[in-house]
C-alpha cells in the first residue's frame, strides 16, 4: 500500500515539462529540472494528465504575527500545478508575508505548507529553493554590483556540479558545464528581453529591466514553482503586457506561478485562479471573473456602503 502511494507521488511529482522555449536544448533543461527534484522523483516518466488535477502547493491555516500585529491570520489556499494563481488584496493584507513564509525567509507561527507531499514550512530557504521553489522580491534584491550575466549565474547555483577540486585541476567536465550554463543564461536573458545587456552591472539597469532580471535569475535553476512579488511594479502598459505573455508562456510549459500584483488588468489577463486576502485572511477564491463579482472583495477594495454612505 505504501508502495502504491509512493508511485502516485512520483507521477505527480513531475508537473514541469522542460522550459524549452529559448533554452539551448530541451534535454539540457530537462536535466536541470531533474536535478532540482528529490532523488525518488527522478526516475519516473511525466504524466501531465494526472498532475493537472493535483495541487502543487497546499497552504493550510498559516499564521504569522509581528509583535501584536497579525500580518497573516489563518490563510489557506492551494495552487494547481501548471496554473498561474493570483494573490491579491489591499495594502497590508499579508501577501508579501505569505510569499516570505512559503520561500522560507520567514517562519510561520502555525499552520503547514506542503509542496506535493513534502512538508516545507520548517525548512530553511536554501532547502526550499532546492525543492524547486524560487521567488522574486517586491523591493528588488539583485546582486547590484555583479553583472547582469553573473546574477543569472548565481541563480544557477543549484545546477552547477563542478567541485572546487575539479576546478583546481582544470577538469574538462567543469569547462563543458560552464559553457553550457553560460549559453543557457544568455538564452534566458534573451527570453526576458535583456539580450545584449549581459555585461552591464545590475544596478545600471532601469527599474523594469531589474524586475525582468530578477525573474531570469529565479528561472535560472528551472524551478517548478515561481513566486512573483509585484513583478510589474514600475512597468508601463506595454512592458506589463509582455510580462504577462511571458508568464502564460512559462505556465504553458508546466511552470506553476503564484503572482502577487496590484496591476488588476495583468491579474485578470494572466491568472487561472485568484485568491483574495484582506487583513491576513482569505476572503475569496475563484476565477478572476468570479472574484471581481464577489461582494466581499468589492467591499474590501472600495469600502462598504455604511462606510462610504
Amino acid at each position: 500500500m505504501a508502495a502504491a502511494a509512493n508511485d502516485r507521488d512520483r507521477d505527480a511529482a513531475r508537473p514541469c515539462r522542460p522550459l524549452s522555449g529559448a533554452l539551448p536544448t530541451p534535454t539540457l533543461a530537462a536535466e536541470g529540472i531533474a536535478r532540482t527534484m528529490m532523488p525518488s522523483e527522478r526516475a519516473s516518466a511525466p504524466t501531465p494528465k494526472e498532475t493537472a488535477s493535483r495541487p502543487l502547493l497546499v497552504v493550510e491555516n498559516v499564521r504569522k504575527a509581528f509583535g501584536g500585529v497579525h500580518a497573516v491570520e489563518s490563510v489557506s489556499f492551494q495552487i494547481e500545478a501548471g496554473h498561474v494563481q493570483g494573490l491579491i488584496g489591499p495594502n497590508g493584507a499579508g501577501k508579501t508575508t505569505v510569499i516570505n513564509i512559503i520561500s522560507g525567509l520567514l517562519r510561520a507561527d502555525g499552520g503547514t505548507i506542503h509542496l506535493l507531499d513534502r512538508r516545507i514550512d520548517q525548512l530553511p530557504p536554501h532547502k526550499i529553493a532546492a525543492l524547486g521553489v524560487r521567488r522574486t522580491h517586491q523591493n528588488i534584491r539583485l546582486f547590484a554590483k555583479m553583472s547582469v550575466l553573473d546574477n543569472v549565474t548565481v541563480g544557477q547555483h543549484l545546477l552547477r556540479r563542478e567541485t572546487l577540486v575539479e576546478r583546481l585541476v582544470f577538469a574538462p567536465r567543469g569547462r563543458a558545464e560552464s559553457a553550457r550554463l553560460h549559453a543557457e543564461a544568455e538564452a534566458l536573458l534573451a527570453r526576458v528581453g535583456l539580450q545584449g545587456r549581459a555585461r552591464v552591472p545590475a544596478a545600471a539597469l532601469s527599474y523594469g529591466d531589474q524586475r525582468r532580471l530578477e525573474i531570469a535569475r529565479a528561472l535560472a535553476s528551472h524551478p517548478r514553482l515561481l513566486l512573483l512579488d509585484e513583478p510589474a511594479a514600475g512597468m508601463n502598459h506595454t512592458e506589463a503586457a509582455a510580462l504577462g505573455e511571458l508568464m502564460r508562456d512559462l505556465a504553458a510549459q508546466g511552470l506553476t506561478i503564484l503572482l502577487v500584483e496590484h496591476n488588476v488588468q495583468l491579474v485578470m489577463d494572466v491568472c487561472d485562479r485568484v485568491t483574495v486576502l484582506n487583513f491576513g485572511r482569505v476572503i475569496a477564491h475563484g476565477t478572476p471573473a468570479e472574484v471581481t463579482r464577489d461582494p466581499e472583495v468589492i467591499a474590501a477594495y472600495l469600502g462598504t456602503d455604511e462606510e462610504t454612505g
Binding site: L105, H126, F143, E162
Partner: protein
C-alpha cells in the same frame, strides 16, 4: 642579472620573508572578507598555529611539513565551534565577538606555563626558508584564482551582497560562512607556524588586537575585491619601514614613524581609493564616464 637579484635578496631577505608571511595572513582574511564577514580572529588563529608548530617541533620533534600542517589544522579545528555560534552575527558585531575571542586566546597563552607563560617560547629552531613561504603563497593565489568563477566563488560574492537573496537561490549561507571562516583560520594557522620557525621566538603578545588590525589594514590598503589586493597591501605595509629608511636624511625615524606612515597610507587609500591600491591598475578615464552614466541612469529611474 642573477647576481643583482641575489644581492637584493641578501640585503632584504628578512623583509621578503616577513612580507610573504604577512601576505599569507592577508589572504587568510580575504576569504572571510570576500564573503562579507568582518572577522578579526585571524591573529589569534595565527597564534594557535605558532604555538602548535613551536611545541610540536621542540617537544615532539615532528617533521617540519607535518608541523606546519598541524598548525593549520588545529587553528581550523578551533574555528569550527567558534564559527557556528559567532557567524550569526553581522558586521561590527561579528568583529567585536572575534576580537573577544582573540583576547581570550592571548590571555590563555600568557597564563599557559607549559608554553613559557608571558615570556612565550624561546629558541624555536629556524626551519622556514623563503621558498616554503612563497610556495604556500603561490598555492594560495592559485586557489584564489580558481575560486573566482567557481560555484563557491559566486556563492561567496552573492552572500556578501545579499544574504537572504542568496539563500533563496539555494545557497547554503551558513555552510559557506563556516567554510570560509575555517579556511581563513587554517591559512592563518599555517602562517603562524611558518613564522614561529622563522624568528626563533613565539611571544603571546604578537597575536593580539594590534596584529589583527594590521592584517585588516593589509587587506583594506591593497583592496578586497580582488585576491591580489591583500598581497599588494601586505607587501607595501611590510616594506614601509624600509621605504622610510630612504628618507632618514629628512629627519624621518623609520621605527617610531612606521605607525604614523601606515596610518597616513590607510587614510589616503580609504579617502581616494576606497577599493584599494589594486583599483589603480583598473583606473582608466573611460571608467569615470561609465560610472557617471550609471549614476544618471539610476537617477532617471527614480525611487
Amino acid at each position: 642579472m642573477l647576481g643583482a637579484l641575489h644581492a637584493f635578496y641578501t640585503q632584504h631577505s628578512a623583509l621578503i620573508q616577513v612580507g610573504g608571511i604577512n601576505a599569507i595572513l592577508a589572504i587568510s582574511l580575504y576569504f572571510t572578507l570576500a564573503t562579507g564577514l568582518l572577522s578579526l580572529a585571524n591573529a589569534a588563529f595565527m597564534g594557535i598555529g605558532a604555538y602548535t608548530g613551536a611545541l610540536l617541533t621542540m617537544r615532539a620533534h615532528w617533521p617540519f611539513p607535518l608541523v606546519v600542517l598541524a598548525g593549520g589544522v588545529l587553528a581550523a579545528t578551533t574555528a569550527v565551534p567558534l564559527g557556528l555560534p559567532v557567524l550569526r552575527l553581522r558586521g561590527v558585531f561579528l568583529a567585536i565577538a572575534t576580537i573577544g575571542f582573540g583576547e581570550v586566546v592571548r590571555i590563555f597563552f600568557i597564563n599557559w606555563s607549559y608554553a613559557g607563560g608571558a615570556l612565550g617560547i624561546d629558541g624555536v629552531p629556524r626551519k622556514t626558508t623563503w621558498w616554503h613561504i612563497y610556495l604556500a603563497l603561490v598555492l594560495l593565489l592559485f586557489i584564489c584564482w580558481r575560486l573566482r568563477r567557481s560555484r563557491a566563488g559566486y556563492a561567496m560574492e552573492a552572500i556578501r551582497q545579499d544574504e537572504a537573496a542568496s539563500a533563496t537561490m539555494g545557497i547554503n549561507v551558513t555552510a559557506y560562512k563556516v567554510a570560509v571562516f575555517v579556511a581563513g583560520a587554517f591559512i592563518a594557522g599555517i602562517a603562524g607556524s611558518l613564522q614561529a620557525h622563522l624568528r626563533y621566538i613565539v611571544d603571546p603578545n604578537d597575536y593580539g588586537f594590534s596584529t589583527a588590525v594590521d592584517i585588516l589594514v593589509y587587506a583594506v590598503v591593497g583592496g578586497m575585491n580582488v585576491f591580489i589586493g591583500p598581497v599588494i597591501g601586505a607587501a607595501l605595509i611590510t616594506a614601509l619601514p624600509d621605504i622610510l629608511r630612504q628618507f632618514t636624511s629628512l629627519g624621518v625615524q623609520p621605527g617610531p614613524d612606521r605607525a604614523l606612515a601606515s596610518g597616513i597610507v590607510l587614510l589616503l587609500v580609504i579617502l581616494f581609493l576606497p577599493e584599494g591600491l589594486v583599483s589603480i591598475a583598473r583606473f582608466r578615464p573611460w571608467r569615470r564616464r561609465q560610472t557617471t552614466a550609471i549614476a544618471t541612469q539610476r537617477a532617471r529611474a527614480g525611487p
